[in-house]
């Protein structure tokens, strides 16, 4: 193993050490746990940065270390059956390491103040540690097995973090929902892994891709290859909150706000996109098309919902979903680098947005607490307003983030978004799916609109409550510093020196398209042609996107700042649409009514079935009464009877019948004996 990989391992395990220390000795450290966790992450960040630079300046394409974890000592398809696992660092990994550790570090830092005085302060930091560990694991692994392992661990740690305030039923519910919805996606992921394993008997990326490249495809059918890719993408659907599994993410806002910044902006949700990026070489054109559509639909739905939300975190949540849709769409159309880049840029400004919103919420809480007001929702933007003057740093940073997310030039967001949109245009150019770029641009406009809506409503104008505003103060330095750092990172120069095009920046240079492994017949447009086409479409995309974003911003100002257009009037006029959007397209209700209800219903029916039918399978007439009791809902009180009772029952009945023969009258006995004798004679004679 080369030394750099040792560093990668160190980066991976430092958060775990933090977790172990804090979970076992957290009580002892009490208030210091936060500092300990932050210190560990700081070290981690430094190592990541070091590793990043050494990778960037290295000539090696990839650093890889693989070893056999489990050897089954058997041979299948003439390949020895063993589970190889290992770690690898390529450019993507190196970037992701920095992103994850950086955001995580900032969140640690931010939380020092934000979570101060929390009942489970040390537990919180411990959970942050395990979460970071799992996320880093996803990033550094070189095989699907470990990927799945860390995938699940991310699920677990997000469960812990979202449910941090588990006394609140909504928080516990949200954690559970996140875990279970993710599991649904994981199920597909797992099935995909099974297909891959069964066919290739290996789970390392390189092994799989080289096998596919060698013409070995699952069950000899490209459809199965497409299926395998899509099933693995299912994992991404879950983690990256794509339609139709996006429902968990908004609920997950029940967690502490820094947690939202960490898991819903930069890391956990990015894992899905990362997975697609990793799997990219084995995705067929069909698979990519499907992925693109999933991304587009997600982006659209989430954006429409975000327009009507009032909860600041909900808005951000849906904007996240929408942006994730963007990234997935970007990867789906084939704009690999653009998608990954958006992942990185989005990580920075979305984390910033969440942290900033955390800052606001923190201040609001503070003020409301002062007032003794426990009814006003601290997260509702309608109760904010006019915070600009009170919280200048927060306002200015949030403005930068909003500009970035809206795709205004000179921001990082502009660079990545622009490339994605160019990619969609190129995509439609090759195969005519024009709906994808249309959605892309439309969503860009929507994004600008709702983000500025949030900004205007929350920060500009007048605050309704004088008393409250008096108590609102800017957050302390530990909270604002992370905001400033992230704001800085939202400018273009970190990614490309050309503010209007990223394609010649270091990012595009280093983050080259992976070699596609799928057979040419089912592969998407060859990379060279596609990149060429992106260049052609770039200017068009830029003009369109800037124009549409500007339109969106203008609309927002017109409506909410200048109040030229009455939002309320619109709301009234389009009541059904508004409600539909406000209720998030009724996805939760739909799932509750279908999947959840069906599962629970089936479970109840089966439990009843188990108790009444299977168990008492032939209990017969005697159980009719119980049957009725079951129907009338008294299931609990039903005594479950089984084969035992069945035996006893039939045996008992026949035994009782046979008993009646034993009348005590000797002559009856003799008659029976004679009758038996006669029967026997008849049996032989007849």
């Amino acid at each position: 193993m080369i030394p750099q990989l040792t560093i990668a391992l160190a980066i991976l395990f430092i958060p775990l050490v933090s977790f172990v220390i804090l979970i076992f000795f957290g009580k002892r450290f009490a208030e210091k746990s936060g500092l300990i966790g932050t210190a560990f992450l700081g070290a981690d960040l430094l190592l990541s940065v070091y590793l990043f630079f050494s990778k960037m300046f290295s000539e090696d394409k990839v650093w890889d270390f693989t070893f056999t974890w489990i050897d089954l000592h058997t041979v299948i398809n003439s390949i020895p059956l063993k589970l190889d696992i290992g770690i690898m660092v390529d450019n993507l990994t190196a970037v992701m390491l920095v992103v994850v550790t950086l955001i995580s570090f900032l969140v640690h830092l931010f939380s020092l103040e934000y979570m101060k005085g929390d009942v489970r302060y040390s537990r919180y930091y411990a959970n942050l540690g395990i979460f970071t560990f799992s996320m880093l694991g996803i990033v550094v692994t070189n095989n699907y097995l470990l990927m799945y392992v860390f995938w699940e661990l991310v699920g677990l740690s997000s469960y812990l973090l979202i449910g941090h305030w588990y006394e609140k039923k909504s928080a516990a519910d949200a954690g559970k929902k996140a875990f279970i919805v993710n599991r649904v996606g994981d199920l597909g992921f797992f099935i995909g892994i099974m297909i891959v394993w069964v066919q290739f008997s290996t789970l390392t990326f390189s092994g799989i891709f080289s096998a596919i490249g060698g013409g070995n495809i699952p069950f000899g059918s490209t459809n199965w290859l497409t299926a395998a890719g899509l099933l693995i993408f299912c994992g991404a659907i879950g983690k990256s909150a794509q339609f139709p599994l996006h429902v968990w993410l908004p609920d997950a806002m029940e967690g502490p706000t820094p947690v939202s910044a960490l898991i819903h902006a930069a890391t956990m949700v990015a894992a899905g996109v990362y997975l697609v990026a990793r799997t990219f070489p084995m995705l067929t054109a069909d698979a990519l098309l499907v992925i693109a559509y999933f991304g587009a639909v997600t982006a659209f739905i989430a954006a429409t919902i975000a327009i009507v939300q009032n909860d600041i975190k909900k808005i951000l949540a849906y904007s996240t979903v929408s942006q994730l849709g963007y990234m997935v769409m970007g990867l789906g159309v084939g704009a690999y680098t653009a998608g990954v880049m958006h992942l990185v840029t989005h990580a920075a400004f979305k984390a910033g947005l969440f942290l900033a919103s955390g800052s606001v919420i923190h201040a609001m809480h503070h003020a409301l607490h002062h007032q003794g007001d426990h009814h006003t929702d601290a997260q509702d933007i309608r109760f904010m307003g006019g915070l600009k003057s009170k919280m200048p740093i927060t306002f200015w940073t949030i403005l930068i983030f909003t500009l970035a997310i809206s795709g205004v030039p000179f921001t990082s967001g502009f660079l990545s978004k622009d490339e994605i949109l160019a990619g969609t245009l190129a995509f439609s150019h090759f195969n005519g799916h024009t709906i994808i770029p249309i959605i892309g641009f439309f969503v860009a406009g929507l994004t600008a609109f709702y983000m500025f809506r949030m900004l205007i409503v929350a920060f500009m104008g007048e605050h309704q409550n004088k008393e409250r505003i008096a108590h609102i103060h800017e957050s302390p330095r530990v909270m604002t510093v992370p905001l400033m750092v992230l704001a800085a990172l939202s400018f273009f120069f970190f990614f490309s020196l050309n503010p209007l095009s990223a394609s010649h920046g270091w990012f595009f240079e280093k983050m080259t398209y992976p070699t596609v492994a799928v057979p040419a017949t089912v592969a998407a447009t060859p990379t060279e042609e596609f990149v060429e086409e992106i260049h052609h479409q770039h200017n068009l995309a830029m003009i369109l996107s800037v124009g549409i974003a500007g339109l969106g911003i203008l609309l927002a100002f017109t409506t909410y700042f200048w109040k030229k257009i009455s939002a309320d009037a619109f709301e009234k006029a389009l009541k059904p649409v508004h409600t539909f959007l406000y209720r998030k397209w009724y996805f939760d209700e739909l799932y509750d009514a279908t999947f959840v209800a069906a599962t629970m219903g089936i479970a109840k029916i089966l439990a009843w079935f188990d108790g009444a039918i299977v168990d008492g399978i032939v209990n017969g007439a005697g159980h009719v009464t119980k049957f009725i009791a079951v129907v009338s809902g008294k299931f609990d009180s039903i005594v479950v009877d089984g084969l035992v009772n069945f035996t006893a029952f039939t045996a008992g009945i026949s035994g009782r019948l046979l008993r009646t023969v034993q009348t005590g009258k000797i002559q009856t006995y003799i008659i029976f004996a004679i009758a038996g004798m006669m029967a026997l004679m008849m049996f032989y004679i007849g």
Binding site: Q667, I671, A675, M678, M681, I685
Partner: protein, 169 residues
Amino acid sequence: MNLYDIIFYFFAVVTVGSAMVVVFSKKIVYSAFALLFTFFGVAGIYVLLNADFLAITQLLVYVGGILVLILFGVMLTTNTVTIDIKSGTMNLIPATIVIALLAGMLGGIFWTSDWFMSKQFGDIVHTTTTTEIGNALITTHVLPFEIASVVLLVAVVGAAMMARRERNN
């Protein structure tokens, strides 16, 4: 029809007729006395079957012993003051069916079976069998004979024990 046949039919009628009285009579005393005639009839049949010793034994044991025992039983178990020596019947219908079937079947097989019959049937010498029986009892059948003595011992002791009057209680 020779004399042998006439005697056979006479005894047959006596036996069966009295047996029917035994079975169907309402009064138990009638039954008991009819049984006497049945035993007589059977003894007569024994004679016809060249079993003179058996016939005598039949008379001695059955008429002299068993019948007397039965009569004692009848007397001792019926309250002589209120003479209710009628004995009811039960299970008539099933009994009739079962017995009719059984009798039919028995008659059928008796009618049709070819029995183990010696070839020298024609020249049987009508002699007394007492000597032969005596011989057999102390040679070939000595074991059953001795066991029969145990049977009688048990019968005596057992009957005495069962029927003994209980004092002081």
